[in-house]
């Protein structure tokens, strides 16, 4: 069973003067494997903070030992840094904010027995990102939020061993003291007068729905994900990444406990932020949310201009320039609406590098993957949960399926699904939803790999293929779907190959050759049928790889 290297995942917290009281050495983890769907063995690259598994207990000792007075005193002292008069110098304000970030880091991250940040402190740090005032402040606030989230997770899993059966038990620990912007969004959704509309173009919202709207609006207005001021792009990216991390951590912890729970208590999953957010929306809002994600994810807005591809060096220069922003462009918008030169401007006007613009699309795809996971679980277990949400339909999944009728969206989504099992499952669902009923009936209900083999065998006949091709809106959709299914199959096959004996390996090899043959036949037939309409090189590429692997 494969897994990612965990060698350096665990990072020890530096010993501080307080550690002389407690001689224990704590560890916090910085990253973890993420993206495992349906408990699959495969791991993906996305970064994910590991939750306080072994060290959580110790982390929370310090605040309880401290007096309430001290607790309040630290918060008040820190917040005093942010009090300014109306006419305060913007540089001075920025300086104090950076000092606040550093001080919070020193108190809440660095020491062994670190202070749990209060709601006001966390809100203040989040506010620094929201106000888009400076690249440096945004970057350091984002780093601080990431560190705080690792150090003081709101949700974590506590593992123990059952004294009777010796079985491993997982318990969900929720620390209510740790504030989360998602909690605020959930509460906002309950209000009847809620408005999920962006308010200011120079401010980034911490409400994920509004934030996505803001990103879409900027992309539409300014002609690309990378358009706009440096600091706004970085702030939007940082905020989206932070919220995504919170959503992922929360859901993953709950799923871990849910999976290990013999009784499958679905209320655990229902209590996740993602479920609360998604099921708190009206049908129209859900559709709009998925549409926003699609707009960000769609690669057409991200591609560079091919007309520039004439000379390697020159292109490199031009593209690099377009991705790097001149710091001088950043302007500081203060509370009074007065715009002054950015306090970030340096003497030589050096350019600022930003994370890849495609990261926006990747984050949007990751959110969609999570939504589909929750939607699937809701379909499976929601009915059993006592008197749970009445809106148990698969609107989200159906909306996604409809969006994926566009080849570009389908490709972007399937590229985001790292888990091969989940990818195959999606392909299966896609066919079951769109293929003509006689085809669906003839395919029957089989496990994933067998279903794929049956499907490819069916499509390798020209007549059958013709009946299926008709239902696809775009000619590129079917080859894309088959190509991604094939990739997922190859990955599953390679992983399974190592865990079986020689006989099993031989069977798997034969199976692979068979699938490759069916695939090649299906794709060649498809090219014959749809030749001029297919714009992507998917067919030729897939045939090339399938032939190479199977050796014919």
């Amino acid at each position: 069973m494969p897994k990612k290297s965990r060698k350096n995942d665990e990072i020890q917290v530096p010993t501080t003067r307080r550690s002389t009281r407690s001689k224990t050495r704590h560890t916090i983890s910085t990253e973890r494997i993420s993206g495992n769907e349906n408990g699959s063995a495969i791991a993906i690259m996305a970064e994910m903070p590991k939750l306080g598994r072994s060290n959580g207990k110790e982390l929370f000792v310090a605040p309880e030992q401290r007096s309430q007075w001290m607790y309040r005193s630290i918060e008040e002292n820190l917040l005093t840094l942010l009090e300014h008069s109306e006419n305060a110098d913007p540089e001075e304000i920025l300086e104090d904010k950076i000092m606040f970030v550093e001080a919070t880091n020193a108190l809440c991250v660095i020491p062994n027995l670190a202070q749990v940040p209060t709601q006001k402190m966390l809100q203040a740090v989040l506010e620094f990102i929201q106000e888009c005032s400076s690249v440096g402040l945004t970057a350091s606030s984002f780093n601080l939020l990431a560190d705080l989230e690792k150090r003081h997770p709101r949700v974590r899993v506590k593992e123990s061993t059952s004294p009777d059966s010796g079985r491993k038990l997982a318990e969900l620990i929720i620390d209510e003291k740790v504030w989360s912007p998602l909690e605020e969004t959930c509460q906002e959704l309950v209000r009847p007068d809620r408005q999920l509309v962006p308010s200011s173009p120079t401010r980034v919202s911490s409400n994920i729905f509004i934030l996505l709207e803001e990103i879409v609006r900027r992309v539409q207005q300014e002609g690309g994900v990378e358009s706009g001021k440096d600091v706004v792009i970085l702030s939007q990216f940082s905020m989206l990444q932070h919220l995504m991390r919170l959503l992922q951590t929360d859901l993953q912890c709950r799923l871990e406990v849910f999976d290990s729970d013999a009784e499958k208590d679905y209320t655990l999953v229902q209590g996740s932020y993602l479920c609360r957010l998604i099921f708190g929306l009206t049908q129209a809002e859900k559709k709009s949310f998925i549409m926003s994600l699609k707009s960000i994810m769609c690669p057409s807005t991200l591609e560079t201009d091919d007309s520039m591809l004439e000379d390697g060096r020159r292109v490199r220069r031009v593209c690099s320039k377009s991705l790097r922003r001149v710091r001088e462009e950043s302007t500081f918008q203060d509370g009074t609406g007065k715009t002054s030169d950015s306090v970030e401007k340096n003497s030589k006007g050096r350019k600022v590098l930003l994370p890849a613009t495609r990261e926006f699309g990747r984050l949007a795809s990751d959110i969609l993957v999570l939504i589909v996971k929750v939607d699937t679980l809701n379909q499976m277990y929601g009915l059993r949960a006592a008197a749970c949400n009445s809106r148990r339909d698969r609107l989200l999944f159906e909306t996604l399926l409809n969006l994926c009728r566009e080849a570009s969206t389908l490709d972007a989504y399937l590229k985001a699904v790292a888990d091969p099992t989940a990818k195959l499952k999606f392909v299966m669902d896609y066919f079951l939803n769109f293929a003509p009923q006689p085809v669906v009936r003839s395919l029957g209900d089989f496990p994933l790999i067998e279903f794929l083999e049956k499907l490819l065998s069916y499509l390798s006949e020209k007549k059958a293929l013709k009946s299926v091709v008709k239902v696809f809106k775009e000619a590129d959709s079917l080859p894309l779907l088959l190509s991604h299914a094939f990739q997922a199959y190859l990955l599953l096959h390679s992983l399974g190959e190592n865990s079986t004996n020689d006989q099993g390996k031989n069977d798997a090899q034969e199976n692979r050759v068979r699938i490759c043959k069916f695939l090649v036949a299906a794709l060649i037939n498809l090219e014959d049928l749809e030749g001029p309409n297919i714009t992507l090189p998917t067919v030729k590429q897939t045939v090339f790889v399938a032939k190479r692997i199977s050796g014919f």
């Binding site: 003067r17 660095i110 020491p111 690249v135 990431a146 890849a356 390679s494």
Partner: protein, 485 residues
């Protein structure tokens, strides 16, 4: 700490100089007899001050009719005299007016020049350093320009085409190996390609395959080639990275020892600074460092050299937006070393880091960039801090008691006392002491530290106009609070 960067860029000096220049300008005008109409009678001014002070004093007690009458008379006299002076001066000739105008314009020009000079001086206090200069071509085995042209024509069979569709990933995993030509090609696409899609796809491909492992920690894919230290350095150099001042740890030819043929001053803006591909390159390095047990491509000395480079890169403003990536890469790299290697190399790295810059502010920035809540980097930070503090007083310091001794004999009442240095020293000392286990609350060092903070707040008044005095006072006040808890 970053807030110092902005603190030091304060325009206090500028204002002081402007005020000084304005005063001298004013005095010049006042000395000119022809401009006597502008002069206010000294006696009158004195009377006015006296009367106003008297007025306020009396008002605090009680006002009598006599006092009010007296004040009214004085005001009347003053008004009359001022109007007489104005009438006299209005008789000056046109020529004199022209002379005055010239004089004033000269003075304004001087003032502007002086202001610019001071502005430059203040700018020097801004944090950061230019680390990336002009890009240079990277010797790659692939022709990127040719690839770009053929990209669309040959996508079905090209490595790039398969890479973009994801089929290369599946194909390589199925084969269980990735040949040298393919890895090289993808690596150079990642570090060189102007196409963001290709750059990120190449980065994802390499990182995924590096990190994917089987249950027995064996890699799922064997790489027939991975970049060596020299390859990594070549990429940094092609991105324009230069470090001229310090001696490399490896003792071999590397970026620091090599000087680009181009003069940094003549760099064109177009190719100055690293390309956006640096983010993919650093992300790849992070994955590479994480898999040392499988892919040991660097020796301890080479890894140490890279720690220094990663810290140094962060001194350039253009990297600020990627600080999160650099931080995480640095943490992973710090854990690349075995315990013995780290014990061996830590001081060497610290020494290199402490000599990265000669400016104390940038030295603080170097120490601050190691402030990421990791035990190894924290130890490294402390070694750097103690070296930097030692350098600032040209003495060897060993422990927290030595650090405290720095602050014992400070005469903060001196008019020309250098609060800027004290400010930076306090910041460095805080970085060291806050993570020092031996600094027990109630211990002598702790008490001395708090005592000094009290002394700073006592010696420096809130409205002290000496440069950085109030900043230092505020810092001391904050540190006092911090360490009391």
């Amino acid at each position: 700490m970053k807030w110092i960067k902005q603190a030091l860029a304060r325009p206090v000096l500028v204002w002081q100089v402007i005020r000084k220049n304005w005063c001298s300008f004013w005095n010049d005008i006042m000395e000119d007899d022809d401009l006597s109409w502008l002069r206010v009678d000294d006696a009158l001014t004195r009377v006015d001050i006296l009367s106003s002070s008297k007025y306020s004093r009396n008002r605090s007690n009680h006002l009598t009719l006599d006092v009010l009458l007296k004040e009214s008379k004085l005001k009347q006299q003053r008004r009359t005299r001022v109007s007489q002076k104005a009438d006299d001066s209005s008789s000056s000739t046109d020529e004199e007016e022209d002379d005055n105008a010239n004089k004033i314009s000269h003075m304004i020009t001087d003032l502007e020049r002086e202001s610019l000079r001071i502005d430059e001086k203040v700018t020097l206090h801004k944090w950061g350093e230019k680390v990336f200069y002009q890009q240079t071509p990277l010797e790659t085995p692939i022709d990127l320009a040719e690839d770009c042209r053929q990209k669309n024509a040959e996508l079905e069979s090209s490595t790039e085409g398969l890479l973009l569709s994801g089929l290369l990933h599946a194909s390589v995993i199925t084969e269980g190996r990735c040949d040298e030509r393919t890895v090289r090609r993808i690596f150079y696409q990642m570090v060189e390609s102007p196409d963001e899609l290709l750059e990120t796809a190449a980065c994802d491909f390499l990182c995924d395959l590096l990190m994917l492992q089987l249950a027995d920690c064996k890699p799922i894919c064997q790489f027939e080639w991975l970049p060596t230290f020299t390859d990594i350095m070549n990429v940094f150099r092609s991105y324009g990275y230069r470090r001229v001042s310090s001696v490399p740890i490896t003792g071999r030819s590397c970026v620091s020892a090599e000087k680009s043929g181009s003069d940094p001053a003549s760099d064109s803006d177009e190719l100055e600074g690293p390309p956006a591909n640096i983010r993919s390159f650093v992300a790849f390095l992070k994955s590479l460092f994480q898999t040392r047990h499988v892919h040991q491509t660097l020796s301890a000395s080479e890894a140490a050299e890279l720690v220094v480079i990663l810290v140094h890169c962060q001194m350039d403003h253009c990297i600020e937006g990627l600080s999160s990536l650099f931080r995480s890469c640095m943490i992973v790299l710090a854990h690349y070393f075995s315990e013995e290697e780290w014990a061996d190399k830590r001081l060497q790295i610290a020494s290199c880091l402490s000599s990265l810059s000669t400016d104390l502010l940038n030295q603080v920035l170097v120490a601050e960039s190691l402030h990421v809540g990791d035990v190894r980097l924290c130890a490294l930070q402390k070694s750097v801090v103690i070296l930097l503090l030692g350098k600032s007083v040209e003495t060897d310091l060993e422990d927290e008691a030595d650090i405290l001794s720095l602050f014992k004999w400070q005469d903060m009442k001196r008019k020309d006392y250098d609060f800027l240095t004290l400010y930076l020293q306090l910041t460095l000392a805080d970085l060291y002491l806050w993570s020092e286990p031996r600094l027990e609350k109630g211990g002598s060092v702790h008490e001395d530290w708090l005592e000094f903070m009290k002394r700073v707040t006592a010696c420096v008044h809130g409205s002290d106009e000496r440069p950085y005095a109030t900043k230092t006072r505020n810092l001391a006040s904050f540190l006092q609070q911090k360490y009391q808890h």
